[in-house]
C-alpha cells in the first residue's frame, strides 16, 4: 500500500544502489532539509487560511473568498505581499539581534519537526529521548521572543517579551508534567515506542481519568506556550498593540508569524502522538469489520487528521474566549494547573505500578 515509509525506503534503496554510503547520507540529509522547509511553508499557508476561515465562520462572516476558488490562495497572495514589503529596522534598535530573532524562532521550530512521526515508521530522526528533545528545544523559542522584544527598543515590545518569558517558563512545567504522564505509562521517551505502546488502544481511551486530566492540562499548557489566545499576553493587541513583534515588518514579521503557526502544528502533533495514538488508526474493541476498514486509511491521514483536530480546538479557543490578565495567567499555572498535574502524575505512577491501564 502507498505510504510514506515505502517511499522513503525506495528512495533510500535507489540512492544506496547508485552512490557510496557517504553521498547517500548527504543527499538524504539535503532531501530531508528541503522536505522540512517545504513542509514549513505549506503548513504556514494552510494554517493561516484555516485560521481565517474558522474565525470567519465563527464570526458569521464569509472570510477570504477572492483569491482562487473559495479564497484558498489568499495566504499565498499574502505571502507574496509580505515578501515584497520592505523589512524595516527601527533607528534605535539593536540591529544584529533584531534581525537575528526571527531566524531563531524559525530554526527552533524546524528543529522540532525532527522527531515527529508523520506516519507509521516514518520519522526524520527517531532519537531515543524524543519527547525530552521536544520539550528541551521548544523552550528555546522564548529566547527569540525575548531577543525580539529587547532589540526592538520599544516599550510595548519589551513588555510583551517579558510577559512571554514569564508565561513560557511557567507553562513549560505543566506541559512537561502532562507529557511525563504518558512517558510513565509507555515506559519510554522514544516517540516510536510511545506510538507502539498505543497499538492496542490510544492512551486517551485506556488511560482512564488521569490521562484525560493530563490531556486537558496539556492542551491548556501548549496553548499558553505557543502564545495563542486566550493566553496571547505577548502580543495582546488591545493592550500592547502587537507585543514583541510591534516593530517587525515584511518578511521578518512573516517568519515570526510562520513560526507561531508551525509551533501550533508541532505541539498539536505531539499531543496527537502522545494521547491520540499518532498514526495508529482508531480501533473499537471487537468490531472486526470496523477495525479492518479503519486499517485501510493510511497512517499519515490518521496522523494529520488528529493533529488538525487539535489545531482546530486551539483555534476554537482563540475565537471564543477573552484574554486573561497577566497575573491571572500565572495564577492559573501555579495555583491550578501545576498542583493538578503533579497530583495527576502521582496517580499515573500509581496506575503504572499497579498496571491498571492494561
Amino acid at each position: 500500500m502507498w505510504s510514506f515509509s515505502d517511499i522513503s525506503n525506495s528512495i533510500h534503496e535507489w540512492l544506496s544502489g547508485n552512490f557510496n554510503p557517504t553521498w547517500t547520507l548527504i543527499i538524504e540529509m539535503v532531501l530531508a532539509g528541503v522536505a522540512v522547509i517545504g513542509l514549513f511553508a505549506v503548513l504556514g499557508l494552510v494554517l493561516v487560511i484555516m485560521e481565517r476561515k474558522v474565525s470567519a465562520w465563527m464570526q458569521i462572516r464569509l472570510g477570504p473568498n477572492r483569491v482562487g476558488p473559495k479564497g484558498i490562495f489568499q495566504s499565498l497572495a499574502d505571502t507574496v505581499k509580505l515578501i515584497v514589503k520592505e523589512g524595516m529596522t527601527p533607528a534605535g534598535a539593536d540591529k544584529f539581534l533584531f534581525n537575528l530573532a526571527p531566524f531563531i524562532a524559525m530554526i527552533v521550530t524546524m528543529l522540532l519537526l525532527a522527531p515527529i512521526a508523520f506516519a507509521g515508521n516514518f520519522q526524520l530522526w527517531d532519537i531515543n529521548i524524543g519527547v525530552l528533545y521536544v520539550s528541551a528545544i521548544s523552550s528555546l523559542s522564548v529566547i527569540s521572543v525575548l531577543m525580539a522584544g529587547w532589540a526592538s527598543n520599544n516599550k510595548y515590545s519589551l513588555l510583551g517579551a517579558m510577559r512571554s518569558g514569564a508565561q513560557i517558563v511557567s507553562y513549560e512545567l505543566s506541559a512537561g508534567l502532562s507529557v511525563l504522564a504518558i512517558v510513565v505509562l509507555a515506559g519510554s521517551l522514544q516517540v516510536s515506542d510511545i506510538v507502539g505502546s498505543q497499538a492496542d488502544g490510544w492512551w486517551i481511551f485506556k488511560g482512564h481519568l488521569p490521562v484525560w486530566i493530563a490531556f486537558v492540562t496539556f492542551i491548556i499548557a501548549v496553548t499558553a506556550e505557543t502564545n495563542r489566545a486566550p493566553f496571547d499576553m505577548a502580543e495582546a493587541e488591545s493592550e500592547l498593540t502587537a507585543g514583541f513583534h510591534t516593530e517587525y515588518s515584511g518578511m521578518k514579521f512573516a517568519l515570526f508569524f510562520l513560526a507561531e503557526y508551525v509551533n501550533v502544528f508541532i505541539v498539536c502533533a505531539i499531543g496527537a502522538t502522545l494521547f491520540l495514538g499518532g498514526p495508529i488508526p482508531l480501533h473499537i474493541g471487537s468490531w472486526e469489520g470496523f477495525n479492518h476498514a479503519m486499517d485501510y486509511i493510511p497512517s499519515s491521514v490518521w496522523f494529520f487528521g488528529k493533529t488538525f483536530f487539535l489545531i482546530f480546538l486551539i483555534m476554537w479557543f482563540r475565537w471564543t474566549f477573552p484574554r486573561l490578565r497577566i497575573d491571572q495567567l500565572l495564577n492559573l499555572e501555579w495555583k491550578y494547573l501545576l498542583p493538578i498535574s503533579m497530583i495527576n502524575l502521582l496517580l499515573v505512577t500509581a496506575m503504572a505500578i499497579l498496571k491498571w491501564h492494561l
Binding site: W57, M58, I60, L62, N65, W316, F317, F321
Partner: protein
Amino acid sequence: MGAGKYISDVWSGFKSLLKGMKRTGYYFTHHKEIITQQYPDNRKELNLPERFKGEVVMPHNENNEHRCTGCQACELACPNGSLKVIFKNEMTPEGKKKKAIDKLVYHLELCTMCNLCIEACPSDAIKMAQTFEHSVFDRNKLIKILNTPGSKIMEGVE
C-alpha cells in the same frame, strides 16, 4: 470546604467556557447565519431607502426645466455654505429684465447631508439622491453645478 470549593470553582469555570464554545461552534457549523454582504458584487440588488441622503440633486423634466426660483432659501439654510446661487439677468418675452438663476453651485465636499436645504426649499426644486459612491481622484470634481446647461425654470413656479 477548601477542596470542595476549589473543585466546584474549576468545574463551573470549565462549564462556562464550554458554553461559549458551544455558541461559536454553532455558528461555525451554521453557515446560513452569515450576514456578510459582498458589496461591489451586489450593486444590482442593493436598494437604498428612498429617504437616504446621498447628495443634493435638482430634478429636471423632459424639457430641461427645473423648479428653482433662485430664492436663496437653501443657501441661507445651509450650515456650511455648500450651496451657492449665481444669478443672471434674463429678458422676459415682454422685454422686462428678470433675475433668474444661472448656476446653483453645490460643494459636495462641504456637504454634511443634513437635509436642511431640502426642508427650506419652498418650491421643491432640490432633493436628495440615493447615490453614495462619491469618491473621486480630483477634489475639484466634487464641486457640482446642479442645474443642467441651458435649463429654464418651469412654467408656473413662483
